[in-house]
Structures are given as C-alpha cells and as structure tokens.
C-alpha cells in the first residue's frame, strides 16, 4: 500500500492495486472465490466434458449426409442421419406448394425482409419512402402467395384507395371517429353489405397469378407466414385494446376488458378449433372464408390480448406527471398518446412484447392439430415413409434449430432496441 500522503484537496486519481484488475481477478472472484464455488466450477467443467463431445459426435463427426435411406445411414456412421433433411428439405420449407410456383414464395420472403428493414432500422437511408412499401407489402404478399385474378387485384386496390382517401380528407375528425366509422363499416359488411364483390366483377377474371389453395401451404413457410402476420397485426391491435382498457369511456372500456379477458381465458387450441369449425356459423351466410386466414385471425387476436396486458403494464408504469404535462401543453388525447405516452410505455413493455411474440411464433406449431402442415405436421408423413422411419430425432433437432435461430434473433433485436431507446441515463 502506498504510504505517500497528499495535502487535503490534492489527492490524485490512482489506478487500483495489482491483483485487483484484469483476468486473474475475474477468475479468482468468479470461479474460485470459495470452497463451494471451487467445487461447482470443477463439477461444471466435468459436466461439459461429459456432454459436449458426445453431442458433437452425434451432430457432426459421426453424422451422415449422403445417403438414400436410413439403412444406408446406419452403415456409414453411428451419428445423426441428416440425409432425411437433405431429401425432404424443400418440403420442410414449402410444404406442398406447387414446385413451379415456389419462386413466388421466395420472392414474397425476400420482399418481407425488405419491408421489415425500414420498420426495424430507424436510421435507414430513405426510410420514409420505404415505409410506404412496407405498408403495401401485406397486399403484395397476399397476392403472391395465394394468387389472384385481375378483378380481385383491381377491387383490392380500389378499396384501399377509398380508405386512404377517407383517412386523408376526414383526418380532422380525429382517429377515434375514424375507428368508429371503420367499426360501423365492418358491421355493415358483416350484415351482408356486398363489399368488394361488385367491383371485382367489373374486371376480367383472368388469373394474373395462378391461385394456390392454402391447403397446399406448409413447412417453415407456413410458420413464418402465420408468425409474421400475427406479430405485425397483434401489436397495433394490442395497443388499441390497452388504450381502450385504460380509457375513461365506459363502453369502450367494457368492450376491451371483455375481449381481453375472454381471449386470454381460453386456450389457443380452442380458438383454433373455433377457427376451423365454428367460425363459419358466425360469418354472414354464403361467405367461404379461407381456413388459413381464419387461423391467422385467431392467432392475431390471441396474441393481441396478451400484448394489450403487457402494454397496459407499461402505461401504468408511467408517472402521472407525464400525462399531466402532455395535457397541460394542450395536446389532444391521440397526440399525447402518440407523442408522449406510447413511446415511453412501449419502451418499458419491450421485453414483455417480445416475450409474447416469441410465444406466438412457437405456438404456430399448434396448427398441426387442425390439420395444417407446419414443420411439425410434416414430420408425420416423412416418418411414415419407410425409407426414413424412426428418424424423428433428426427432424425435431432440425426444426428446433430453425425455431431457435428465429427466436434468438427476436430476443437480440429486443435487447438492441432497449439499449437504443434508453435515454434515462440512470447509473
């Protein structure tokens, strides 16, 4: 220890003494700090040594990629038989989507990434223009995957234009009134107003892209499709539900509470069964609504109910002073929500929101119960093939790897977002 003394007020900043910094200090403090800690460290090293090498042997060193059936695999090595993945790879990705149309899936996937980029990365050059593409993507993606006729595409564009113009010219009415109007239009459509049918019939019904039935959709494409739709639609819906639940308007509040509590109180499987069987009874007579669309709606509202509760937690965590300061400035309700309250509440809710998204993404595998062929659903026909019998471990490991990569990416993105939005400068 330094014995040197300094005059009061003139003590310089000194470095910590040797042994109190660097790697040696870290190892001593974290791995060998006490007898218990030493035992645990040695035990952990032993376990890693026992588990990791055999696992690597099975996964990599003794595995077989080049084989035509499982017996050939067994002759060549004792490890995993990845040949099954190699042969069924396209099926695991596209399901039974017609081979000659698979370029449409690929294109839709690439466009989806392009549409996500400006949403996720706020410093992207030309972001504002590209956001218009992001907004248009759901329609483009829908027609790419399902195909459509000239009339259907024209009708969609015209309806979007009508809604856009309504919003443009009636925006003075306030978002609340516009939402109410949308609700009324939705209700009218429900009670048989033939929306969309007439316009399509003005045009030719020649197919621009050949229609593909959603029963042919499958594999990871189906997972991404349901997951992506659920995630992007449930966030805005969940936010609206959370605002409604925290609202002073009694009826709005009652509707939102009822919706959230009902949806949260029911297992997703039940909702999927409702989608596959019951929903037709509630829809206007004569509509034949695609099963996959119905499933996507159910997954969306299921996750929206959870998002709503997560966001409500964020709203409740905001100090009352923030609401008061926004009010005192003279902002309207929607302005103060958009500019002051939601940016802060959503930031607080990021871990919970991403948690819900990851849950939703993995829950998409439940659709196999109502007969949709997601990757897990596809394992059944693959294992039924006598060439690949009993190779379920390989299939499950491969599917797990896919889900892990997707979910881990979401988790990392949420951490990045939390760090980026942190302006609190707490120590």
């Amino acid at each position: 220890m330094s014995e040197q003394s300094y005059a009061p007020g003139s003590h310089p900043d000194l470095p910590p003494p040797a042994g109190q910094r660097g790697a040696i200090k870290w190892i001593r403090e974290n791995l060998f700090s006490s007898p218990t800690n030493i035992v645990l460290t040695l035990l952990s090293i032993f376990l890693v040594w026992k588990i990791v090498p055999p696992m690597l042997d099975w996964l990599v060193f003794d595995s077989v990629v080049d084989a035509n059936h499982r017996n050939e695999c067994r002759e060549q090595g004792t490890g995993a038989c990845w040949a099954v993945i190699r042969e069924r790879f396209t099926q695991l990705i596209y399901g039974f989507y017609p081979t000659e149309h698979r370029w449409r899936v690929n294109l839709a996937f690439v466009l989806m990434l392009a549409a996500l980029l400006p949403l996720l990365w706020d410093k992207m050059p030309g972001r504002k223009t590209l956001l218009w593409f992001s907004a248009a993507f759901p329609v483009v993606g829908f027609f790419l995957l399902w195909g459509g006729t000239v009339g259907e595409i024209a009708a969609t564009i015209i309806w979007i234009a009508i809604f856009a113009l309504t919003f443009r010219f009636f925006s003075f009415a306030g978002i609340g009134i516009l939402l109410a109007a949308l609700f009324v239009i939705g209700a009218l459509a429900y009670f048989g107003l033939p929306i969309g049918i007439n316009i399509a019939s003005w045009f030719s019904d020649a197919a621009v892209l050949e229609p593909v039935e959603s029963a042919k959709f499958g594999g990871f494409m189906l997972t991404v499709l349901i997951g992506f739709t659920g995630i992007t639609l449930s966030l805005p819906l969940g936010i609206l539900l959370a605002l409604g639940r925290s609202s002073n308007l009694l009826i709005v509040k009652a509707i939102c509470v009822g919706f959230i509590e009902f949806i949260r109180g029911v297992p997703l499987i039940t909702l999927l069964f409702i989608a596959s069987t019951l929903l037709n009874y509630f829809l206007p007579p004569g509509t034949n609504f695609d099963l996959l669309l119905r499933v996507m709606i159910m997954v969306t509202i299921f996750s929206a109910a959870y998002i709503a509760e997560v966001v409500r937690g964020g709203l409740a965590a905001l100090p009352k002073g923030q609401f008061e300061a926004a009010d005192a400035t003279g902002l309207t309700y929607w302005e103060s929500m958009r500019l002051i309250v939601l940016p802060q509440a959503l930031k607080i809710s990021i871990p919970g929101i991403v948690n819900t998204f990851i849950g939703l993404y993995k829950d998409t595998t439940l659709v196999l119960i109502i007969g949709l062929l997601d990757p897990l659903g596809l394992t059944q026909p693959i294992l039924a093939d006598s060439k690949w019998q009993s190779l379920s471990t390989e299939l499950y490991v491969f599917i797990a790897l896919f889900f892990f990569i997707s979910c881990f990416a979401m988790s990392r993105y949420s951490l990045y977002l939390e760090r980026k939005l942190d302006t609190s400068h707490r120590n």
Partner: protein
C-alpha cells in the same frame, strides 16, 4: 357567451364561487379569485390546504364541481374545445418538472408549438433556442432531460412553457423538489420572468421570492382563502390568527 364587461377585460383568470370535492371531501370551498393581466400572485398555506388543487383547476388538470372559472375570456366547462383553448394559453411548471424523458431538451420545447400551434419546425426551434438562452442553458439543447441537474431541468420546464407564449404561467411548488443550491437558479429565472411582465400564479414556500416579486400574497387553509394582501402588509401585519401561526412556523428559523 361573451358577458364580459369592459371592466374585467383585463382579467386573465377569474374564479367565482368555486367548489371542489374529492369524493365527499370538500377540498376547495368558495374560492373567489380575480387575476389581472401582469399581476404576480403567490399562494401559500400548510400542506393539504388545497393550493395546488386550486391552480390545477385553472388549466383543468382538476375539474371543479361548482362555480365558474373563466380564463382569458373562455369559461372552463366540459366543452373539450374550450379546455384545449385554455390549456394552450396557460403555461404550467410542475414540482417534479415532468419533462418528457424520451425527447431532447429542444424537442421538449418545440413539441407544443409544433403540434398545438401548428408552427413550422424551423421557427419553433428558433423560438425554443431563444427561450433556452433566456433561462441560460442553450448549450444543453441536444441533451436528454435525464442528463441535466434538477435546477437545469426545472429551467427547461419553464422554457418549455414559455415557448407556447402563454398569457399566464402557473407554478406548482417549482422549487420544493430541488437541492438547496439549485433553488436560487430557478428563483432567479422566475424573478426575471416576473420582471418581464408575465402574469404569474405561484404556489411556493419561498417567502423571499414572495416579498421580492409578488403583487399579492394569498394564504389558504383547509380549502379556503383565509387572507390576501400585498406582501409587506401580509408579512408584517397578518390579520387572521391562522395566518399568524403559519407565518410564525415557517419564519421561525
């Protein structure tokens, strides 16, 4: 609707027999207060006396249940348009600053002018920088509130309110959450503001400030205005015994 006579044209805030209850608790009792343009009023009183509640009624952060409040010719009713109108004309500074932590200091100041006054961003930024200079922290404009000291945050909050060019400024205990060495910088800013002719209603325990700038000091207790007078008479010769007790308590040290 315009029942104003010529005489009270100059009234910025007018409270007429205002009552308010929290549930069954009678928090404001028959409040009558007329504030003229340019007048500086300090409201004091023991904790729980309703002084914060009273000034929060003026921009409708609290709703009154009986009586009449007119701010700059606009009566506060359930009419949302009137409330928005009043709020855009009344600036408020809070005890805990209530700056928006996700926006920079500059963005905090330009938010109101851009969204409420529909001012172009460039112009709003010029005005904001002007007011930030007046409160002597233009160099902090691009920082976030969390990076500033309490005194600096409160001065930003004052600048933020001033950017809306309010007719009257409400101060709700602006210095009571501050460390002692920061109180002075905020009071100096408020004194400067008072000297510029701003109409101010301040709830505060800073009696030095009251003596320096107030035209009128109001003492409240248990939801009532007990006594009001110009500062010298108020401090030197309080009439009501409750005022005397209060003053003896806070001036004892």
């Amino acid at each position: 609707m315009n029942t104003n006579t010529n005489n009270d044209q100059r009234l910025v805030v007018e409270m007429d027999q205002v009552h308010k209850w929290y549930g069954t608790f009678h928090v404001l009792k028959d409040i009558n207060l007329a504030v003229q343009k340019g007048e500086r009023i300090v409201v004091c009183g023991p904790s729980g006396s309703g002084k914060s509640t009273m000034i929060r009624c003026i921009n409708r952060l609290e709703e009154h249940q009986q009586g009449r409040i007119v701010v700059d010719g606009t009566e506060l009713t359930n009419n949302l348009k009137n409330i928005a109108e009043v709020r855009s004309e009344v600036g408020m500074v809070f005890q805990h600053f209530n700056l928006f932590p996700h926006l920079t200091v500059l963005e905090n100041c330009t938010l109101g002018p851009i969204w409420v006054r529909k001012m172009p961003k460039k112009e709003a930024e010029e005005i904001a920088m002007d007011y930030l200079s007046r409160v002597k922290i233009p160099e902090q404009a691009l920082k976030f509130p969390g990076q500033l000291s309490g005194g600096q945050q409160q001065r930003v909050a004052i600048a933020r309110s001033l950017c809306m060019a309010p007719n009257v400024m409400l101060f709700d205990e602006p210095t009571s959450a501050l460390d002692p060495e920061m109180i002075k910088e905020v009071l100096d800013t408020m004194i400067e503001l008072a000297e510029s002719g701003m109409t101010m209603i301040c709830v505060t325990h800073e009696m030095g400030f009251a003596k320096t700038v107030a035209d009128r000091v109001i003492f409240m207790d248990e939801g009532e205005i007990i006594e009001q007078n110009e500062p010298n008479a108020f401090f030197d010769n309080p009439q009501n015994e409750r005022t005397q007790l209060f003053l003896s308590q806070i001036l004892a040290h």
